[in-house]
Structures are given as C-alpha cells and as structure tokens.
C-alpha cells in the first residue's frame, strides 16, 4: 500500500467534509459548449480547494481556503468536455449507466414516489453534467457566507463559460443543525478514515484504494481506472499507468461521488413512532417511550450515543468513544441492545455475523468466536463508504424537541443531501443500499427493511416490520415510507492533473 497520498492532487472534499464551514451550496450544472467549458475549467482550477491542507496542522500553512470549491462531472459531462471515447468507456459501468438507469433504480429502491422520472433533478433526460460544491465561513454561519457562495456560483456558471446552472441545492447551516439530521438524531458519526492520511485517527482505517483510484484497495489491488492513450496526452499531464508506458491514468486521485437528495417526512416519522409505541406491550410511556423506540430504530440515541454501549438511556457524549465499538464485545451479537435491523447496524454491521447471526455460537469456543468477529469486521470493511452529506431545508423545530418534531407541521421540504465517495460503486455504495439497507432478510430477519430508508419498497418485496430481538421479541408493523429520493446522480471528482488534462485544448 502506498504510504503517502498525493494530497495536492486530490480535491479537498474527498479528504474533508469541511465541517468548520457552516455554509454550503451544491450547483448542478449543464455544459452547453465544450470548448468554452474547457477554458472555464482552466481558470477554475486555481480557485478549487485541493487536499494539501490535510498535510499540516490547522494553525500552520497550507491553510484551508476561505471559500472552498470542488468540481465533479457525470459521464455525460465528461463526454461534453471531449474526453476520448476510450477513456469514457473505462469508467465503472454503474457510472456510465447512471443512477436513474431502470435496473439500478429498482435495485436501489427508487420506486413509486422515488422513481427517477419523478425526481427534481437527475431524471433520465435531464442535462446533468457537473456539480460545483461550494463551502464558506468559519464557525458560526453568517449571511455573508451565503452571499459569497451565491456570487461565486453565479459568476462561474454562466453562458460565457459554456456552463449553465441547472439546479441550485441549498443546505441548512451546519451550526444551526447542531450536526443533527432532521429526524432529530446526531449525524455524520460513523465515517471511516482513509489510510495514509497524515494526522488521522488510528481506528476504523480503510485502504486508500477504497476511496481513491490509483491506490491499493482492501484486496491489495488498484481499482480499475479510466485511462488515456499516451499519444492523446503528449504534454504528459496525466500520471503514468504502473507498468504500461502506452497509457496514462486519468482516474488517479479521483473518486466516484454518489449524490442523492433524500426528502424526510419528520412529522410522519414521529407520528408513526407514537402509534407504534402504543401498540407495544411494555414500551415506556410518553416522550421517553418515543425516544426509546426511535433510538431502537436508529441504533443511537438522539445525542448520538450508541445503543450497543448505552442500551437503556442516552450516555454522556465522549467523542473518542462514540464510534469505537463492536457489537460482539458488548454482548450484543444478537441485537438485544441495538436491534439487528436498526439503521446504523444495517449501514455498518461491524462484526455482526452475516447472513445470520446465530451460527457462531454453535462453535462454543470463545477464541474462535473472537477470530470470527475479527474476520467479519474485515469483510464489512470491503463495503465502507465515505459520507460527506449535509441537511437541507429548515428544521421542524430549532431545538429538535421530540414533541415539537411530532406535532409542528410545515409544508417546506427538508431532508438530506446524501453525498458519499467510494472507489467501487457496485461493491460499496450500491452493495450497502441493496444488500444491507434495502434487504428485508438482512442478518436473519425476514420482513424488515431499514426502518428509516427502506420501508415498503417493491424490491425485493414489500416489507414493513421492525423487530427488536429479545425474550420475548417485540415487533412493530406497517412502517410507512419516511424518506423519498428527490434527485440524484453519479459523479466523478477527478484529481488536479486529470482536471488539467480535461481543460487542455483538444
């Protein structure tokens, strides 16, 4: 495994969520003229934020820019920019086909209200060619930050530059959300760290090639990467392909970016929780009961502390421990604390035995069980994604008061702009979505979808239960759909040299 990442060649958003910047906007754009767009890209390059700042302390240069912008393109976007056909054909097939391809939409659970034809953007015929993600501010949000972002976007995306704004996606200031998503739960906790990144925490490390092309992945191999024949890159802008002089690597230091706009029905969620709580024989009463049942579905308490560590009541928040746990080590292999089907356990099962958690106990040998748990953690790591999402739309209640979330209503749309990076769309994002989140048979369950994201989808079959293992087991029924996909696309965020190559006149 390469020990050093080429930080100055990697766009900053891949290496950091820019958590300290409260303001963010995503501009989805169309390329109307390839030649002008390439000229624009040449100028834009100097304003983009690359990853060198991750090589130094916050108090030392190179610093993170005041306004951070990053750019990514869809497959159609790269074609518009004149990328050679052979390179276009070298991207991962899911990226080439796009998120709205019907077979893919079926697998990802994008049906009925969430069907691609009904999206706000990213519909099959929409001219979605690129994404400009812009972040600003420091600490508390300031109206000025939003204005600066808006000015930047409108000055960059204009007909003179060969690009046109297709849709502008706003976010809600991250300090206003207190890092909570709209259902009222602390978000963005479980994220793996890229190996080889300086000054990163030592736990939950994934191989760089799980996120970035051009580095070894968890199998010890370089992910497949789009290449440019050397004769089409005579200025040698792109890095060489290892061992193959005739080819240059367009993908190196780039990453596939999944973008999904997910609308959340907050009042619907908390109303269901109240109705379901009343139907459970021995659920705690009132607000405490609602908090308990919702925490069971999420797998964490609203303050983010995990049920595997704090099964009965929210724990004190200790940032260093909030994500450092396994289920087996907390006597929770079978989901009696954190239900097997809860949202966080599905999206990252850690050491949960798949596809059924019951078998390991048959060995009866603690040493072998420990070995199995370690092996399972390694298997789980082959499907991790690096999340970079932010909430959009105003919170139902500024204080995320659980009663207010259930009773206040508002017509404004709110939800999550889900963004994640990965090097292998099929093995990582799509796998997590279809085999873990969407799968009613996940880990020994039989008719339980992800209670937040997956209820009542037509594929693989309509499932609407939520099971809390125990003696006796408890179960809620008739889960409705709380989350709908309103837009989405697969982008690729290239490295600096690939952008230079793209911007180079043909």
């Amino acid at each position: 495994m390469d020990s050093v990442l080429e930080l100055s060649d990697i766009q900053g958003l891949i290496l950091s969520g820019y958590g300290q910047k409260p303001a963010a906007r995503y501009a989805v754009f169309e390329i109307v003229d390839g030649e002008s767009a390439r000229r624009w890209l040449r100028r834009l390059l100097d304003t983009l934020q690359f990853g060198s700042f991750r090589g130094s302390r916050r108090s030392e240069p190179p610093y993170l820019g005041d306004l951070c912008a990053n750019v990514a393109f869809t497959h159609a976007g790269f074609a518009k920019l004149g990328l050679p056909a052979v390179t276009l054909a070298g991207f991962a097939p899911p990226f080439q086909e796009g998120m709205s391809e019907p077979n893919r939409a079926r697998r990802l659970g994008d049906d009925a209200e969430s069907a691609p034809e009904r999206w706000h953007w990213g519909r099959p015929d929409d001219p979605v060619h690129g994404l400009l993600a812009v972040f600003a501010g420091d600490g508390d949000a300031d109206a000025e930050d939003w204005v600066r972002i808006e000015e930047f976007i409108s000055s960059e995306l204009c007909p003179d530059h060969g690009v046109r704004l297709f849709t502008l996606l706003d976010t809600v200031a991250s300090n206003r959300t207190r890092r909570k998503e709209h259902f009222g739960f602390r978000d963005g906790i479980a994220n793996p760290r890229i190996g080889g990144l300086p000054r990163s925490r030592r736990d939950d490390i994934i191989a760089p090639g799980e996120v970035l092309l051009g580095y070894d992945n968890t199998y010890g191999r370089r992910p497949m990467s789009p290449e440019v024949p050397a004769e089409l890159d005579q200025r040698g802008l792109l890095p060489d392909c290892a061992g193959r002089a005739a080819r240059h690597d367009f993908g190196k230091n780039g990453s596939y970016l999944v973008f999904r706009q997910l609308k959340q029905d907050v009042v619907g969620f908390w109303s269901y929780i109240e109705a379901a709580r009343q139907s459970l024989p021995d659920a705690p009463a009132g607000r405490a009961g609602r908090e308990w049942l919702a925490a069971k579905m999420v797998g964490r308490w609203p303050n983010g502390t995990p049920l595997a560590l704090f099964p009965d009541a929210p724990g004190p928040i200790a940032e260093q421990d909030i994500d450092s746990f396994t289920y087996g080590a907390n006597q929770d292999s079978f989901g009696e604390r954190c239900p097997i089907g809860s949202h966080i356990r599905r999206s990252n099962p850690r050491d949960t035995a798949l596809p059924v958690p019951h078998d390991p106990e048959l060995s009866g040998d603690p040493a072998r069980d420990l070995e199995l748990r370690r092996a399972r953690l390694e298997l789980t790591k082959r499907h991790r994604i690096l999340r970079r999402g932010r909430a959009y739309g105003p919170p139902v209640d500024e204080d995320y008061d659980l009663d207010a979330l259930r009773t206040l209503s508002s017509d404004e749309e709110r939800g999550l702009h889900f963004l994640c990076f990965n090097a292998n769309l099929s093995r990582q994002f799509e796998f997590v979505q279809s085999n873990w989140v969407q799968n009613p048979s996940f880990a020994g369950l039989s008719s339980d979808p992800d209670p937040l994201l997956g209820a009542d989808r037509s594929v693989p079959f309509r499932a609407r239960d939520f099971t809390m293992p125990g003696c006796p087991v408890r179960r809620t029924h008739d889960l409705p759909r709380f989350v709908e996909t309103r837009g989405g696309a697969y982008f690729f965020m290239p490295g600096r040299r690939a952008l230079e190559y793209l911007a180079h006149p043909r």
């Binding site: 021995d282 059924v356 594929v459 099971t467 006796p472």
Partner: protein, 434 residues
C-alpha cells in the same frame, strides 16, 4: 435438459415464446410464472433459458430447462422421467411453444412424445450442491408459517421467564395446530422430522483443513501428480480476462446484452444465475472432470447439510454441467440477494473452490496450481463472470422471498418446539426468532 435450436428458426420468435411464459404470472405474484406453479409439480425452482449464439458461432443456440422438484420415487432417473411426463401432460402447451423451435421436436407436439424428447436430452451435472436437504415444499411452507405464528405470539406476550414463555407458546401452537389448516402435519408431541443434525452442523462448520484432504480421491491425487508439469505450464501461459481492455471495446450490442442480464435480476430476494464459458482447450476436460468430481464430493459430504457451499451461505442450488460435446461449461444457481453480494461471497469466502471449478475455462483469471489467485483478483473475476453471464428468461421460485439462511433458521425453530431445549439452548432458540 439441453435442446439445440433448429437453425431455420428465428430466435426472436423463441424469445417471444419465453416472454409469454415469464409474464403469465398469477396476480400479485412475482417470480412465479403460472406454468410451473401447479402444486402437483412440487417444483422448488424452474428455469427456461435460451442460450442465444451468433449465427457464425461454433455451436448453435440452445434451450435449457431446469426443474428442482420433490419426489417420492427413489430412483433419480425414474423420478425425472415421471416429472417430465407430468409436466408435459399438464403444461404441454407452453413447453411446446418453446421446444417446437428445437431440433428433433418436430413430431413431439403431443404430451408423450414431448416428454420422451425432453428425457432424451437430459444432461447430467458434473457437480451439484443443495442448500437445504430433507425438506420438501410443504415442510418449508409449514415452517415459514410456524415461525410467523410464533413471532405474532411472542410479540404480544407479557414478559416472563424464558421457560415459562416457551411452554406457553408450545401449548398455544399445539392447540392452534388442531384447527389451523396451514399447520396441518405439525405434531409437536412427536419427534421432529429429519433435519441436519446440530452436532454434525457444528462439527462441519468448525472443520479445519483436514476435511479438504479427506475428500481427495486417489484418482484425483494420481491425476494431479501426473499432470504437475502441465498445470505449471498452463498457469504460466494461459491468457486471462483483461477487464479494462474488454470494457473499452464494448459495442452497443454488448451493452444491450448487459442490460438484458440486469433486467432479469433483482425482482425478488432470490435470483437466478446462468453462466456459460468454453473450456480453454479439450486437454483440460479430464482435469475439469476430476476437479468437479472433488467439488461434488465435498458438496455431498461436507456442505449439503449445513446450508453453505464453501462458506457461501446464500445458495439454494448450484450445478455445473458440460454442454456442446463437452466443450462448454454451464453453471446454474439460485441465490439470495444481489449479484454483487453473491460474487463478493465468491471472492471473499470461496475463492479456492471456485478456482477449482473454473480455472479450466476460457480467460479465467490466472491461478497458480488452480488454487491461488483466480477469484481473489476481485474486479477481474467479477468482470469475467459478468461477461459470460446470460439472461435467465424464465425463472420460477416457489418461495421467492425466503432466503436460504431464513429457511434453515425456520427449521431450527420448528425442531426446537418438538424437543424442549435445555436452558442454554432455550436462550439460543429465542434468539432465532427475529
């Protein structure tokens, strides 16, 4: 059963006939073409596949029919013949609508000659694995229903000590089984019907490397020893699949083919995989047969009863067979969840076994002594597999939403009700109810 398509016919007509069968489903049922759903057939899974070949291909197109069914007939050959006769008498029309395009079926429009013609084209498998044994369709459905009855009972039950809860539920089921027709045949006071024995399962799951050696026959050992030089030479010189180069050269037809394969997947929990690949050279046939003989023995002696094939716990059936004068290897399997998950299991859990099965075939990722490498090369292996996959035009599954792990779990729950478990086992029994 493999039949060659008569060259004079257009494949589009044959495709249309298959589409008619696939689309004729009972309302609200998926993966359940009506043609195969008659309970008399006792079919677990069935598929009808057109292996369409270009007109200039060495081998013409074929239609393959597969049915996995229950039978009380002891002799397998006789059982197959009976099954075909029953199918032809009941669903002669849809079968004939497809096989009338095949060579040697011109005079087989009536039920009896059709059954004879099909029987003549039965193709034996080189290796076969079954994810669940000892359970027929009725039992699988009974145990699935019983699990749901118990879940409904416990989810409303007041908290109580486990033993008390268990016996109350047992009593509830005993009373209910007297009146509920869906529990017919369940008598929890009698010993449980045969099931994969817990001790055997535990022992096999925990078995070390020794078992892999125990199943090597002397014949295979002699073969490997006599072919060491060849195996080494092949490992060095055989070309392998180049995923990027292939992908860069995809034509519109290739892309359409991949979309057709994808369109036949992910309509339910269970999926069908159909895969065809030529042998590298006729001189690999003996090696392939020896390797598959070993896989077949391992499946029967080690894996059939434990719901896992070499560590892959999501396969209902898997079988390999040679077609076209033993020049191409056909693989059929029914598995749970997505292709990516299935192939991922191949790579992560069973690479060695798969190398043994496929290293003799065209452009398979390089293996060293058919053991190392190969499927471990994740992206190359998946791309190779996808490139040789064919769409499964007609797929019938009797219980499309029931995964193999859940199916086996249901059996354990049921058997636990027949035999009151000890305290430890009782704890484990309750954990199975999820």
């Amino acid at each position: 059963m493999v039949a060659k398509v008569d060259g004079v016919h257009r494949l589009s007509e044959l495709r249309a006939a298959l589409a008619l069968i696939a689309e004729d489903c009972a309302p609200e049922s998926r993966l359940q073409p009506r043609a195969f759903a008659d309970p008399m057939f006792r079919i677990h899974f069935a598929r009808l596949v057109l292996l369409a070949e270009p007109s200039d291909a060495e081998h013409g197109s074929s239609v393959v029919f597969e049915s996995n069914f229950d039978t009380d007939t002891v002799d397998p050959a006789e059982a197959r013949a009976e099954h075909l006769r029953l199918l032809c008498s009941k669903i002669r029309e849809p079968l004939w609508s497809v096989f009338k395009y095949c060579q040697g079926f011109a005079d087989a429009s009536e039920a009896e000659p059709l059954a004879d013609a099909l029987e003549q084209r039965l193709a034996p498998s080189t290796a076969c694995y079954q994810g669940h044994t000892e359970r027929d369709l009725d039992r699988i459905r009974l145990e699935q229903y019983l699990r749901e009855v118990l879940m409904r009972y416990f989810e409303r039950a007041p908290r109580a000590p486990p033993r008390e809860l268990y016996f109350a539920a047992r009593e509830y089921v005993r009373l209910r089984s007297a009146t509920d027709p869906k529990l017919r045949g369940l008598n929890i006071d009698h010993p449980a019907p045969p099931m994969p024995d817990a001790a055997i399962r535990s022992e096999r799951l925990g078995a070390g490397l020794a078992v892999w050696f125990e199943n090597i026959s002397l014949q295979l050992l002699f073969y490997v020893l006599s072919q060491l030089l060849n195996l080494w030479r092949w490992a060095k010189s055989d070309p392998e699949y180049e995923p990027l180069a292939r992908q860069e050269a995809w034509t519109a037809d290739d892309r359409a083919h991949f979309l057709e394969v994808a369109a036949s997947e992910d309509h339910g929990l269970q999926n069908a995989l159909t895969h065809v690949v030529p042998l590298k050279h006729p001189n690999r046939l003996t090696a392939l047969l020896a390797a598959h003989g070993y896989i077949d023995r391992m499946a029967k002696n080690q894996f059939d009863d434990i719901g896992q094939l070499g560590g892959i716990p999501t396969i209902h059936f898997a079988k390999w067979l040679l077609i076209d004068d033993r020049t191409r290897l056909l693989f059929f399997s029914n598995y749970d969840s997505s292709w990516e998950s299935y192939l991922g299991d191949f790579v992560d859990r069973a690479a060695i076994g798969l190398n043994l099965a496929w290293t003799w075939t065209h452009l398979y990722p390089k293996t060293v002594f058919f053991n190392w490498g190969g499927a471990n090369d994740e992206e190359r292996f998946k791309a190779w597999s996808r490139a040789h996959q064919r769409p499964t035009q007609v797929f019938y599954a009797a219980y499309p939403d029931l995964g193999i792990a859940a199916l086996n779990n249901n059996t354990w729950i049921r058997c636990g009700l027949h035999h009151p478990p000890c305290a430890m086992a009782l704890k484990a029994w309750f954990r199975r109810l999820t």
